[in-house]
Point group: C2
Chain length 342, copies 2
C-alpha cells in the first residue's frame, strides 16, 4: 500500500477492545509496540500472552519518552485529561494520537495544553458490542475506515503557513500505523468527523437503546415474537452502557441535530400512517434506495476469496508537505476517500 | 415433539420466500405438498427442481378441494381477497391458514365471506431481507415462533359454546404443519398479534428506512464511515419496499401506537442531551438491561452443537377440545409460550 513504515516504537495507553486489538496487530506485524493498562484480569492475560505491558503509567511514559515513541491514547474520554497531564510532564518528546470516538473534546484538551503540533487525532470505525482486552482480536481493523484529523494543518494552511515538519512527520507515522493494521486512513476535520459519527454511529446507539426498551414494554408475547429485524436493530444495546453514555454525551450537540432529523422522518411516517389510506411508499422507497447505495458502495469492502482486496473508497495518493496537499486532504474528506502516502 | 402428523395434503398458494421455504421443508419431511405460483422465473426454477407446482390457480384449487387439502395462503395481503373469492367458489371443502404478517385485515376478509369456522391464522416470525422463490431455503423456520390465531375458539368459549369439531381438527393440523417444519406454535389473538408485531417487526422496519435516509443525507464522509451499528440497524431496509409498505400500512393503527412510544423515548433522549451536562444514563442502562434480558431469553434458542435443542419458550401441552383448553391458550399467549399437542 505504501512504502512508508512507522519506524518509531508505538506505545498504547489503555488496552480495551480497540487498544488491545491494535497492540495484537502491530505486534504481529513486527512493529515495536508496548503499552500501559490498569491492573486487572485483562492486563494479567495480556502479560501472560507475552505482550510488553505494564500497569505502571509513569514508567511506561518515561520509557516512551526515551524512545520518542508514538503515543496512542486508547482510554475512555473521561480519562483523557488525566493521561494528557502525565504526558505533558513525563513524555514531552512523544507525538500523540488517539482512538477516542468523539474528536472535539479531545482536541479541546489538546489545545488547553498547547499540544496541537504534537497531535494527530484518530478514530477507527471498528468494534463490536463487546469490550475489554478479552474481546480484542487480530484483524479487527481490516478495511475499516480509520479517521485521521488534520485541523492543525488546515489552520496553518488557512493562515498561509505550512504546518511544522514535526507535525507532518507525525501525520505520516500515524498513517503508517493505520496502514500496518490494514485499515483505510480517511481524513476529516474534527467537527466534520463528529457530525458524521453522530449520524451513523451515535444515533444508531440511541435507537438501539430506545427500541430495546419499547420491545421490553411490549410484554412477553412481543418478546417471544422478536426475530431478526428487532434483534439486529437492538444489537449494539449490548454495549456496556457507560461506553454508550461517554460517546453520546461527549458528542451531544451533533447528536441532537441527527436526532432531530431522524425524529422528523418518523413523524412524517406516523402522519402517513394515521390516515384513512395509509401510504408510506415515499419513505419505503427512499429508504430502500439509500440502503442499496450503501450496499453497493461497501460491497467491494467485503471479504472475498480473491487475494487482491479492493477498497470501494476513492484513494488519494498524497505527498505530505507537497504543494496543495492540505487542499487535497479537504477534497478527499468531502468524498469520504482514503489516503495513501507515497 | 408431538405424535400428531398433518395427514391431509397441504396446498400452498404463493411461493415466495415463506411459501417456498415451507414447501421445501414439508416436501423434505415426506408430507404431500403442492402449490400454485404465478408464472415467473422462480416458478420455472421450482418446477425444474421437481416440485409439484402449477401456475394455473383454478386447477390447483379444484385439486385441493378433491384432496380436502389444507390451504396455506402465502400471497401478499393485496392478493388475499382475490384468492379467497376463488377458494369460496372452487375449494369449499378445504381448511385455510395463511402466513400473512398482519392478521386483522386477513380476518376481516375471512369474516366477510363467513369462513371463520374454516380458518386458523398463522404468521411465522422468520425471514430475511431477500424475497421470492430464489431466496427460499430449507430450515428457515427452525425454532422460530409461528403465531397461530384462535379467535374463533375464543369467541365460542366466551359465548359458552365449544368451537365446531371441524375447526378443532384444522387447528390441530395447522400445528402439525408448524411442528413438521420445526417452528414453535405460539397462540395469539388477532389484535394482540398485530400489536406485538407492530412493536417488534414493523417499527424496526420504519426505523431502518428512516435511518437509511438520514445516513444518506449525511453526505459521502458519513457514508464512508458507516460501520456495524449503522449497517445492522438498516439491514431490513434492503427488503423490497412494496413488502414493507404492505405490512406497515395494513397494520397502521397498531404501528402508530408503537411509533408514539418510540418517538417519546427519542425525545426524552434529545432533552437529556440538549443541556449543559448531558446525561443519558437512564436510557443507556434501561436499554442495556432490556437487551440483556432478550439475549438471556433467546439464548437457548440459538443453534448449538448439542443434538438436543432446547426452546426457551415455556411450553403448554394441550389437548384441543379438552376441558378449559381455550383458557389455557389464553394463558400461554400471555407468557409468549408455545403449544404442543398430545
Amino acid at each position: 500500500m505504501t512504502s512508508h513504515d512507522a519506524k518509531r516504537p508505538i506505545c498504547i495507553i489503555g488496552l480495551g477492545l480497540i487498544g488491545g486489538s491494535l497492540l495484537r496487530d502491530l505486534a504481529a506485524a513486527g512493529q515495536t509496540v508496548y503499552g500501559y493498562s490498569r491492573p486487572n484480569s485483562g492486563t494479567r492475560s495480556a502479560i501472560k500472552e507475552g505482550f510488553d505491558i505494564s500497569d505502571h503509567l509513569d514508567n511506561v511514559l518515561i520509557r516512551a519518552n526515551e524512545d520518542r515513541a508514538l503515543l496512542v491514547l486508547a482510554v475512555p474520554m473521561a480519562a483523557v485529561d488525566e493521561i494528557l497531564d502525565r504526558v505533558v510532564e513525563l513524555a514531552p518528546q512523544c507525538g500523540i494520537t488517539d482512538v477516542v470516538s468523539v474528536k472535539s473534546p479531545v482536541y479541546r484538551s489538546i489545545r488547553a495544553r498547547g499540544l496541537e503540533s504534537r497531535y494527530v487525532g484518530g478514530h477507527p470505525m471498528a468494534g463490536t458490542e463487546n469490550s475489554g482486552w478479552k474481546a480484542s482480536t487480530t484483524g479487527l481493523f481490516v478495511r475499516a475506515a480509520w479517521v485521521i484529523t488534520y485541523d492543525f494543518a488546515m489552520e496553518a494552511d488557512t493562515a498561509g503557513r505550512s504546518p511544522d515538519q514535526e507535525w507532518v512527520d507525525l501525520f505520516v507515522d500515524v498513517i503508517g500505523m493505520v496502514t500496518t493494521v490494514r485499515a483505510e486512513a480517511v481524513p476529516a476535520l474534527v467537527t466534520n468527523h463528529d457530525d458524521a459519527v453522530a449520524r451513523i454511529s451515535h444515533l444508531p446507539h440511541i435507537i438501539a437503546e430506545s427500541l430495546s426498551v419499547v420491545g421490553d414494554q411490549g410484554g412477553l408475547l412481543a418478546q417471544s415474537l422478536a426475530a431478526g429485524s428487532f434483534k439486529d436493530a437492538t444489537r449494539v444495546a449490548g454495549t456496556r452502557p457507560e461506553l454508550v453514555e461517554a460517546m453520546c454525551e461527549s458528542n451531544a450537540p451533533a447528536l441532537v441535530g441527527a436526532l432531530d432529523d431522524f425524529i422528523a422522518h418518523l413523524q412524517d411516517a406516523r402522519a402517513a400512517l394515521d390516515t384513512e389510506n395509509p401510504d408510506i411508499s415515499e419513505l419505503a422507497e427512499a429508504g430502500h434506495r439509500a440502503r442499496r447505495r450503501l450496499e453497493a458502495r461497501s460491497g467491494a469492502r467485503k471479504e472475498s476469496v480473491s487475494p487482491v482486496k479492493i477498497s470501494s473508497r476513492p484513494v488519494l495518493r498524497l505527498r505530505p508537505g507537497g504543494p496543495d496537499w492540505v487542499r487535497q486532504l479537504r477534497q478527499t474528506e468531502d468524498i469520504g476517500g482514503r489516503i495513501e502516502i507515497y
